[in-house]
Structure formats: C-alpha cells, structure tokens
C-alpha cells in the first residue's frame, strides 16, 4: 500500500493557504528581502512589515538588544508607507506563488481606516493583519489593543473600509487574553494572530541608563514561547474564528505545539533573523511528522490539548 502524501493545505477565512507556516510581520521585511535566501512560494503566507498610510521613520538606534534566548526590539514601525508598498513592492511580490497578508497600522482610528481602504480591490493581497499590539510607538497600536471595547470599535471601523478578511494581531501585555479575543471576534474580525512581543526593559548598569530611548521594548524569540503557547491555547478555546499562533517558533516541533494548542496556522518571527530558511525546515518537518504519524491533515490534531483537566 502506498502512503498518501499528507495534505498540508488549510483554508482560513475563505482563503486557501498551501501550508500553515507564515513569515511574521517585522521579521521578513516586505517579503522581497527573503528572495536571496529561500523560495518564498514554499511559504503558506508572507506577512509584511507593518504598513501605514504615510511613511514612518521609526525609532532612533539602538533598536535591538539581545537577551537570553530572546531579542528586545524597538523598531518603531519604520515603513515606506502604503503608496510605495503598492507601487514598488506589491507588483514584485505578487509574482511569487504565496499568499500576501499586509500588516497595517495607524496612529488614529481614521489612519487605520485610511490604510485599510487603500488595499480595497487590490489584487494579490489575501488579507489584512491589523496591528493592535506594537509596544514601541506612542500613538495607536497597543493603545487601542489593550482595551476590548476600543479594539472592537477599531475592528468594526476597519471592516467597513475593506473588502478583505482581517486578522487582529493581539498583544500579550494584558491580564486576560480571552475577553479581548472574544471582543474582536464579536466585532467580526475574521481571525486573530497572537502573540506580539512582551514588553521588557534592558538597563546598562555601567552608565545607569536604559538601553532603549523609549525605555521599554518588545521581547521575542524562544524565551517567550511557553507564554505564547498558553495564550494561544486560551484564545483558541474561547473562539470560533481561526487563531494564528506566534511566539518563539523555531522548529517543526514548536509549530506543532501551537497547532495542538489550537492554532490553525503559525507565524515564524525571530527565528528568521538567525536563518530565514528556518521556515522551510519547519514546513518540511511538519510534513515529515504527518507522514511518520500517518496524519492526513493537521485538523486531526489541531486543538487536541483540552481546555480543562478533566
């Protein structure tokens, strides 16, 4: 008997993804930066660097500080703006057979609505991921993303401005993820992705100063994986819309943990900084796992971890 080739594809919010592995926003540039290192048509999706209606300069250096098994960053959402993205990047990126998810943000709710509307009817963009969770900017983003009511109001506003599915990217920097996740689901978000970075600080003891000008920064990498996994498990248990798991994923085994915790798909972030091919190794490793365990589709193990111990 010949074994069936496992079906790695998945359909989320009406969009077909060839596999469940995506490059996370802020760790793959605009997607084109990956081309020297891997065939991006292997990826389930590329999630672009956060794009705003107008270009944004970002934060002054230093923007990166390494920690044990992690990285603190304070990039500050530097980006080229939606016009240049649409004119210069998207035509090139669309030549590749992968789904493109554009991460969007603004300083005000109107800004979010404006940038979302700029992608209305644009071919080649399969969904928008709404950044409700960047901890490194003074206005917008996490300022809207910590309060369930405000987040819902923003999601509703964006839904009116776009014809694309929207994914709310949630912050872990709250007491309970469930009310926030439920609130954006009620506001008709088509999916959620979590977690964005955990807020941290690094201090230079010789100079007795914080290393970052903003004092705080966002922690990512393997160090945050257990926390991310717990929050994905909590959110997935409470939601009917797809949950995309993010946080320290560096191996197929990490990715499978997120699927078992309830994620429909995963995004790989900081691991790309060490080797962007990691995403391909994860895709291969997940397929091997399916073959070895005679699994036709990961649906059969998705969310297999129970909500409560019986």
């Amino acid at each position: 008997m010949t074994r069936q080739v496992p079906d790695t594809a998945v359909e989320l919010f009406g969009v077909r993804f060839k596999n469940r592995v995506m490059g996370a926003s802020g760790t793959v540039g605009y997607g084109l930066e990956l081309l020297d290192y891997l065939d991006i048509s292997r990826l389930g999706a590329v999630v672009t660097k956060g794009v705003s209606a107008r270009p944004k300069l970002g934060n002054p250096p230093p923007r990166i500080v390494e920690t044990r098994c992690g990285v603190l960053n304070s990039i500050g959402l530097e980006n080229i703006g939606a016009d240049r993205f649409l004119g210069e990047v998207l035509p090139e990126l669309s030549k590749h057979d992968t789904n493109i998810i554009v991460n969007i943000f603004g300083e005000t709710m109107d800004d979010y609505q404006r940038v979302a509307s700029m992608f209305r009817g644009v071919t080649g963009v399969c969904a928008l991921e709404v950044n409700l969770s960047c901890p490194n900017v003074k206005k917008g983003s996490i300022a809207f993303g910590r309060d369930p009511k405000t987040a819902a109001r923003l999601i509703k506003k964006i839904k009116k401005a776009t014809d694309r599915p929207i994914i709310a990217k949630l912050t872990p920097n709250i007491t309970d993820i469930v009310p926030l996740a439920q609130s954006v689901q009620r506001a008709e978000a088509d999916g959620v992705s979590l977690i964005n970075t955990l807020i941290g600080i690094a201090i230079d003891v010789e100079n007795r100063r914080p290393l970052f000008q903003n004092i705080t920064a966002g922690l990512s990498g393997p160090a945050i994986k257990p926390v991310a996994l717990r929050m994905v498990w909590e959110a997935a248990s409470a939601l009917s819309i797809p949950v995309i798991g993010i946080g320290g994923i560096s191996s197929a085994s990490d990715a499978l943990e997120f699927i078992m915790a309830g994620a429909s798909a995963v995004q790989v972030g900081t691991a790309n900084f060490i080797d962007p091919k990691t995403m391909c190794y994860i895709i291969d490793g997940m397929e091997t796992y399916m073959e070895d365990h005679d699994i036709d589709t990961l649906d059969s193990i998705q969310g297999i971890i129970p909500r409560k111990i019986s």
Partner: protein, 261 residues
C-alpha cells in the same frame, strides 16, 4: 551555509584570528563587506554575530579560506574564541556594501582604531601598484595590547604603517585622528573603522579639509540581511539607513553624527 574552522589563534591577549574554509561566493566578497557567524550553540546566544572580513587572502592558509579578527568581548565572541580546527560554524555573506573602489589623486589613509583594523586589512591586501605605494595605514588604540598581534599580516601586505597609542606604549603617542590631521589634503582619501567617537572625528576632519572619507559603521544588528530594520543609522537625509544593507560602509558625510551618542 556552513564554514569549517581551519585555524583559531589567539594572536594577542583576547584577540583571535579565525580562519574559515568557505564557499566561492564568500571568497568573492569585497573589502568592507561582512559576514554573520554563529556556532552550534542553540538559542543562547540567539543571534548570529557580524564581523567584517579581515583577510580574503590570508598568509599561510590554504586557498578557499577567509580570516576574521575577533576581539573577545561578550558571550558570542567568547564562544567563537574557543572553536577548534574542524568545527563547523554557520556563516552568511558576503553582506552589505564594501569600501568604494576609487583611486584618490592624493594618498589613501586607512585609519583603524583597535578591532576596527579588520576591514581595513581587507582593503590593504587588495591594493596593488601605485595605490599600494601611496597608501598609509594608521593603527591606533589605547595601549599596546590594542595594536598588537597582527604584525605578520601587516608585514605581509607591506604597507607603510604608523602605530599610535594614547598611552604611548607603542608608536606615536596620541590618537588615530591626531596622526591623520597632520597633513591631510583635499586630494587625499580616508577609509576608517573604529569606535564611534573616532569615526565622528574623522568625519569632522574630512569636512574641514575637504577630503573624502568613508567609514565602516557599527550598529546592533539582529539579522544582517534587511529583515528586522534593527540596525538603523541616522543619516543627513533625515531618514534612517540600514547598516546591514546600505552600509556598513558609508560616506562620512552621509551619517548624522549629531544623533549618535
């Protein structure tokens, strides 16, 4: 890609010369370009470490080898200082811009502060004929330990070299910039790498004298390949440049030194 350690020698206390067997693409790199290196040490330290290539044509090594000059400073360089021949490392490169391939009408000064000597030695070994004759190397540091360990390479390349230390323990007493400022003319050109303060002073000197200067800029870096936007350098155009892709070598006048600490 993989690189195999060919040799690793502590050439002066805390300073290591690491020879790596690498592929053709990396061997074809240009002076001033850099590599991202890590060993098989899991998630701590997490990130690869950037190093400018020190020599593409090292003496007393086989063909197909490059050398890095590594000052032991933190956890990554500590681990790299302990690798042995035969060990495998991961390496990405050549990355970034190199020093420009221009011939000044006057002299070329290679100004290196401490470990900043590394990319300048890659420039030095690439020079031939007239340009080699009109190039001078200025190698400075706080004390003799900062400017020791690579005499064999300097002799191999055969460049006229001035040593300068702040405490006078080797060569002239003073700084690289003190030496450089003696008789710089607008026809000369400076390639510099070293501490920020030194590069800022080189930029100022270049502005005053009207000679072109190019600096290899250092910034904290996560990926080295333009994915994270972490290695922003303030520029005089008001925007940030990426040290990894737009740099690490910049014209000194492109950098906004006022924004640097």
């Amino acid at each position: 890609m993989k690189a195999t350690v060919v040799s690793n020698r502590e050439v002066s206390p805390g300073l290591f010369r690491l020879a790596l067997s690498v592929d053709e693409k990396l061997l074809a790199g240009r002076p001033g370009q850099f590599v991202m290196v890590r060993g098989p040490w899991g998630a701590d330290p997490l990130l690869s470490r950037p190093f400018s290539v020190y020599r593409y044509r090292p003496i007393s090594e086989n063909d197909g080898t490059i050398q890095l000059l590594i000052r032991r400073a933190g956890s990554g360089t500590e681990l790299l200082s302990r690798v042995s021949p035969g060990d495998e490392l991961s390496i990405q490169g050549p990355l970034g811009s190199g020093f420009p391939e221009v011939v000044p009408s006057g002299r070329l000064f290679l100004a290196g502060g401490g470990i900043g000597i590394a990319p300048l030695m890659a420039v030095a070994e690439s020079l031939t004929g007239d340009l080699l004759k009109k190039t001078r190397l200025i190698f400075g540091g706080r004390g003799i330990n900062d400017v020791s360990g690579i005499d064999d390479d300097i002799n191999d390349i055969g460049l006229e070299t001035v040593y300068v230390t702040e405490d006078g323990s080797r060569g002239e007493t003073g700084t690289v910039v003190d030496i450089l400022s003696v008789d710089l003319t607008p026809d000369d050109m400076v390639f510099a790498c070293g501490p920020q303060g030194m590069l800022k002073a080189v930029a100022e000197l270049s502005r005053k004298t009207g000679c072109d200067a190019f600096v290899s800029h250092e910034e904290r870096m996560a990926c080295g390949i333009g994915l994270c936007l972490g290695c922003a350098a303030s520029t005089t155009l008001g925007a940030y440049a990426l040290t990894c892709k737009d740099g690490p070598v910049f014209a000194a006048r492109e950098i906004d030194w006022g924004n640097l600490p």
